[in-house]
Amino acid sequence: MSAPPEQVTITIDDRSVSVPKGTGLVESALQAGIEIPVFCYEPRLGPPLGACRMCLVEIEGLPKLQAACTLSAQDGMVVRTSATSAQAADGQEGVLEFILLNHPLDCPDCDKGGECPLQDLTLRYGPGTSRMVVQKRTFDKPIPISPLIALDRERCILCYRCTRFSEQVAEDGQLVALNRGASSIIATFEDEPYRAHFSGNVIDLCPVGALTSTVYRFRARPWEIQNVPTVCAMCPVGCNVWATTREGKVARVLARNHPEVDGGWLCDKGRFAHDHLRAADRLTEPIRRIRMRGLVAVPWEEALDAADEGLRAAGASVCVAFSGGETVEQADALSRLVRQGLGADVALLPDDPDPALDAFRAPLAAIRSANVCLVVGDEPVLERAPIVDLWLRAARRGGAEVVTVGPAGAIAAPPGSAAAICAALAASSPPEELRELARDLREADRVALVWSGDDDTGGRHLAGLAAALELGEGSGAYFLPRTPNGRGVAQAWRAAGDGRGIDPSGDEALGALIVSGDEALRDTRVVALADRARFVLTTAMFMNEAAGQSHVILPGTGYLERDGTVVNLEGRSQRLRRTVEPPGWDELAFFAQLARRFGVDVDPWTRAGVDELAALPARSGTAPVVAAPAARGPQRAAGAGGDFELVRYRALFSGAAVERVPQLAFQRPAAEVELPGGDASRLHIATGERVVLRSGEVSRELAARVNRRLAPGVARVAEEHADGLADSVRIEKA
């Protein structure tokens, strides 16, 4: 590795500070305890722009004031900020006066008021009064650039933070600056909404109130809120967030920079889906099925009695279906109830990451500094663990070779072939099309391997490849689970014991089924099991189809209402903090009570889950667990006609929470099918045309979208639009 960078010594405001060569002046000053004010400067957005000129400083030997953010420390530099230089103070005052020429003074109206960098810096560095006598510029306002973001062009100071995020971080290229000079405006294309997975970050980045959240709009002011540091449990990344509450309700969620996990970014699902906690169809009291009366709301004690009775009658013939969103503590309570209290041993685990992966753990941030990144699997990384996609993009910008091998990859591979690809790359003589990649992987200093598919054995294959490549320091293998805490739930289940178990894939009757959470309710396997169960105990936030099969339904909690531990895809245990009170008992309290009735003592309070997890016994390889859908066999030959191999992916913007936030509706996957360019032109199908997908008796009409990255013979559809379709479909024009 390279030698530590040379240290240089500079003087800022008569204080001497020694920093590594190349450190920016703003950071160097910070190290000396001096703040240089900035608007446009944000190191996470790439190289500095120097657009706002707020950071003007005097540098000895240079005739004019310089923008500190664009300079790096040079040995012997003597810098004077506005604290010691009248020239710099005058310059900054002038800059603020210019910025305020057209900025409306509607701070009482503005959502940013009270937490606004422009307000703060004007107070500290700006002129006391304005000399502006003519009318300020006006625009229509607010302009909804998407159902989530309102743009106020009058307030915009053209720092280009938002457009730089769009272009250089998320690389969606949708938010741009139009026109030139004084008439520049921030805009999307025509009237199209800013539809991107990370669009909400521009709200955080905006140093004024130009981009505001429509969800948070006018809900609270900064002095009326409490910010709770917690973790987003909407996907397996586990981004660190601030949950803002006002009057006992979650008003917004903001990114809380964890440089190793999320780098300070947050996807729109994590940012905006919190309103599902207040959905109209939220369950708030237990429900019990009573003969002749149907589903009836009952007191908690009665629900407890009913659950007790139902489970006792089932004996050991009990299966528990996890949804993967539970905290480790909840999963532990439920697992111990089932394994130790009921003597049953069968669970439907949404994820089951292989323990072999633990040897190749690395923080997500390591992806950025990798030389070669390999992504295998059928599911788009962006839909499964969105932040990982940002890290991969950062790696590519940094010069890394990022190769996707799969149905939509740079190296085309049939669906379900990820395991074979790992094996081929690990082998001593890989096939022709992978040879170059295999060589690069072996020669690279730092490698990041990402598995983004639905095959639970993936962890093993990925770990196998990682071992073959002899991954060392700075490299990592990342298996993307399907669910937020799938890894933690699996660990908790394993820790609660191991034993025989029955096979739930048969068709004999089941004594009882415990369905934990809304996501599990949507699993078709769970629905099938519920048909065979004599007693179904469900915890759910919302009533929906499978709740119709339940005998006892307990109101569930959302992640913002839970205290506990979640384990993200890196295997990092993070603490969830209760942000708001749940409407009733939380699952942990209920299952602890229930477990006590079966002679198992479960602590109803969240314990120091991090320590607990560390002390978990190593898992045995024989525990009976129903595997997730098995990997598909080798690809059937793409038919000469309109036969396609169907790849479905679970869209990020799907699920019970997203469906209940109307502002997120536009982010949900469009009813369309992606077709490879070659096949589409052969069938004379263009983007936007209606096509019919048929498999057996089932047919679905969707809009076509031509995706030139897709491998020939593969069609891709979001899971929610592929209901009932088989893996092989026939596609023709409607």
């Binding site: 509607d106 009482p108 109206d109 709009r217 809900r219 002011r221 002095w223 009326e224």
Partner: protein
């Protein structure tokens, strides 16, 4: 023992007062005029065109030392325009049982939307009734309080009271 004449001195003072004109004011019948800058019950004001001056910025709530103001804002729409800005106060409540009538709210208000009037008869039978809602605060006071002659005092009226 103390001097026995001490007690008699006290009675003498009492005796002297008996023959003076009493200074007791028969309150409900007679209301002594309040000072011109007296701070009584709050009022919210409207612009001449009927729109509310309050935009729901919550600065009054921030300034309030007894935390008795609650503001919940909402967005004006073309069909429902309440205030001139984008935002208006959907809920504006003052808990007068907690209010200490310090007047910080009117100082904080950027639009002179709230002022403290001269009404001081604010007793109710229930504490709940002391939570004044926006409608109550917007309505002109029903009781008129006598105010002392402005010219007797040389402190000027504060600007926000003159203009609202």
């Amino acid at each position: 023992m103390q001097n026995p004449f001490e007690g008699a001195k006290g009675f003498a003072v009492t005796l002297g007062q008996i023959f003076r004109k009493p200074i007791t004011q028969q309150y409900p019948e007679y209301k002594r005029p309040v000072y011109p800058r007296f701070r009584g019950r709050h009022r919210l004001h409207r612009h001449e065109n009927g729109l509310e001056k309050c935009v729901g910025c919550s600065l009054c709530a921030a300034a309030c030392p007894s935390d008795c103001i609650r503001v919940v804002a909402a967005e004006n729409s073309p069909g429902n325009r309440v205030s001139p800005g984008e935002r208006y106060a959907r809920i504006y409540e003052i808990n007068l049982s907690r209010c200490i009538f310090c007047g910080y709210c009117e100082l904080a208000c950027p639009f002179d939307a709230i002022t403290l009037g001269n009404e001081f008869e604010l007793s109710e039978y229930s504490r709940d009734d002391l939570i004044y809602t926006k409608d109550m605060l917007l309505r002109p006071p029903t009781k008129t309080m006598p105010v002392a002659d402005r010219d007797l005092y040389d402190t000027p009226d504060p600007v926000w009271k003159r203009e609202s």
